[in-house]
Point group: C2
Chain length 331, copies 2
Amino acid sequence: MDYRSAGVDIEAGDAWVQVVRRLVARRGSSLPSSGAIGGFSGLFGIGGGRSLAACCDGVGTKLALGEATGILRGLGQDLVAMNVNDLVTCGASPLFFLDYIACGRLDAGKMESVIEGILDACVESGCALLGGETAEMPGIYPVDGFDLAGFAVGLVNDAEIVSGSGINEGDEIIGLPSSGVHSNGFSLVRHALTDGGLKLPLDAKPGPLGGETLAETLMTPTRLYVRQTRAAMDSAAVKGMANITGGGLEANINRIFPDGFVSKIDYESWERPGIFKLIESAGVEEAEMRKVFNLGVGYAFIVSREETRPLLDALKSAGESPIAVGTVIRA
Amino acid sequence: MDYRSAGVDIEAGDAWVQVVRRLVARRGSSLPSSGAIGGFSGLFGIGGGRSLAACCDGVGTKLALGEATGILRGLGQDLVAMNVNDLVTCGASPLFFLDYIACGRLDAGKMESVIEGILDACVESGCALLGGETAEMPGIYPVDGFDLAGFAVGLVNDAEIVSGSGINEGDEIIGLPSSGVHSNGFSLVRHALTDGGLKLPLDAKPGPLGGETLAETLMTPTRLYVRQTRAAMDSAAVKGMANITGGGLEANINRIFPDGFVSKIDYESWERPGIFKLIESAGVEEAEMRKVFNLGVGYAFIVSREETRPLLDALKSAGESPIAVGTVIRA
C-alpha cells in the first residue's frame, strides 16, 4: 500500500516540475525573472532592498474527508496554513491572502464555515484577506463538490532572506510538533481506510487516538508556524527553514540544502502521534510513511550548533515544544 | 433559458459577497486592512507611496469545452487574462502570476499546453511566473478532469491609482473589442448548445461564425488588455477602467462608479460578433445576454469628454479599434 497505488504519483509530479522549468527556460529573458520554481516560495525584488515572496497551494484530498465528515471549518485554517507556512520559510512576513473556492453549487452555509476558518487563520498569521473568487462550476464539480486553493504574499528585507545557503555539516535540525497529518497524504490515508487493513468507520475511537474519533483526529487543522518563525528569527541566526508537507521530513528539509549535504533524521527522537501508527498498521511501509507524512514534525529550523540554545529558548518562550530531530551530514 | 437554469445563480453569488463582508467586518481591527472585497482587485499599501494590487480568478466552465474539444492552450491565456485584466483596472502594472492546477491524474502532455499558454500570456503581460501548484486529487476530480485558478500581483504608485472616484455625469465610456465570449458565461453557452434551440455539434461552422467552427470560436483565448491600459494611462487622464466579465457591460462598469451614477450603454454602437447572435438564437433573451456576456466589448475606459480624443488616439496608436459605447448618467 503506497501513495502511487492511492492515485498520486510523486515521481510524475517531480518530472512535471522539470517540464515547467524547461518551458520557462525556453522563453529566456522575454519572461521576467521568475523566482524559484519548486522552492517553498517565489521571490520577486521590488527595489529599496525589499522583495515580495509568494506561494500557492490547496488542501489536497483532505477535502473529501471534510465533505464526508461535515467538519469544514478547519479546512479554512488548513488552506491558510499550507500557504503561509511555505511563505515564512524564506523569512518573509505575511501581508495578505486570497482564496479560490470552486464548487458545483454554492452552499453558503457550508462555505461560511470555511471562510470563518480562513479569517481566523489570517488573524493569527497577521495577514489580510485581500480578495478571492468563489465560482459556481456546474458540470466540473458535483453539486456538493468543491475545491479550495489559496495564495499568500509576504514581504522580506533582502538582507534577511533565509535561503539555506549557509547550511553546513554538523548543523542542527530543530523541529516543531505538527497537529497530526496536516493537509498532505490524504489520498493514502483514504486508501488505507477503505482498501487497506484498516476498515474503520470515521466515528470509531481506536486506542492510539486517545479518545478522539478518527474523523476528529484526521480533520484537525494544520498548525500555523508564523509566530514561531518570527520568534526564532528574532533570537537566533536561522540558516534555513522547511515546511514539512508532501515528501516528508527529509525531502522537504533537503530542498533548502546546498549541494553535497543531506539531513540525517533520528526518527526515534520524538513520540510519533497515534494516527501515524494507525495508518502504518493498515499496511503502509515505514519507508513510504517517511516519504508521505510529517510523522509528527510539521516545521523545521536549521542552525549551527552554537545557535541551538538561543533557538530552543526562543521557541520555548513562544510556547512551543521544540525537538532536536537530526543533523546535517555530507551526502 | 437563462444563467440560473444553467446552474449559476448570480444573485446567490452577490449575497455570498455580503456574507464574506460581514464575516470580515465582525473581526474588526484584529484582521489587517483587507482591501476592497468585491472590486476588481484588492489593494495593500507597502509604504513609500506604493501599493500592491492582487486578484484571483479561474476560467469557469470554459474548461469543460476545453476538455471536450482538446483545445487547451488557449485556457492558459484565459487564466492569465482573467487575472491581469482585473489587476490593471486600478492602474497597477503586473509583477507576477501564480497558477493552481488541480486534476484527477496529471496528464503532462495536456497540461504542458496549458502552461505554454500561461507562459506566453505572462510574456505579453510583462509578468513573471513566480510559482504555482499542480495537485493530483483522485476522487475529487475525475481521472481526466481538472480545474485552473490563477493569482496575479501588481504594483501601483498611490498617486496613480485609478479608482473611478472622479467619474461624473457626461463622461464617456470607451470600449475595446473582445475576442468573443472570453471566459465567462460558459455554463449558459453549454446549456444553450445542449438543451436550447441550438443543438449544434462543436465542429459545425454556422454562418454567423464566418467560416470558423463552433469549437474554435468558443475556445478563442480571452484578450489581454495590459499593454493598452498602459498606453491609455500614458496619454490621457483615465478616471476609471472596467474588465467586462460575468455580469456584462453595465454591472462591471457601474462597479467603479461613485454613488448616484450609472452607465448608459448604446448597444447599437458596435457590431455584435456572430457567436452572440448564435447564442441568442438558442432562446436567450436580450436582457439576459446583456447580464451575462461582454457582447463584443471586453474592457472599458471612462474619461471626461475632453480626454476622449487623446485616449482614442493613444489606443489607435497601440493598434486598437476603440469604440465609444456609452456615457455616464445620473441614476
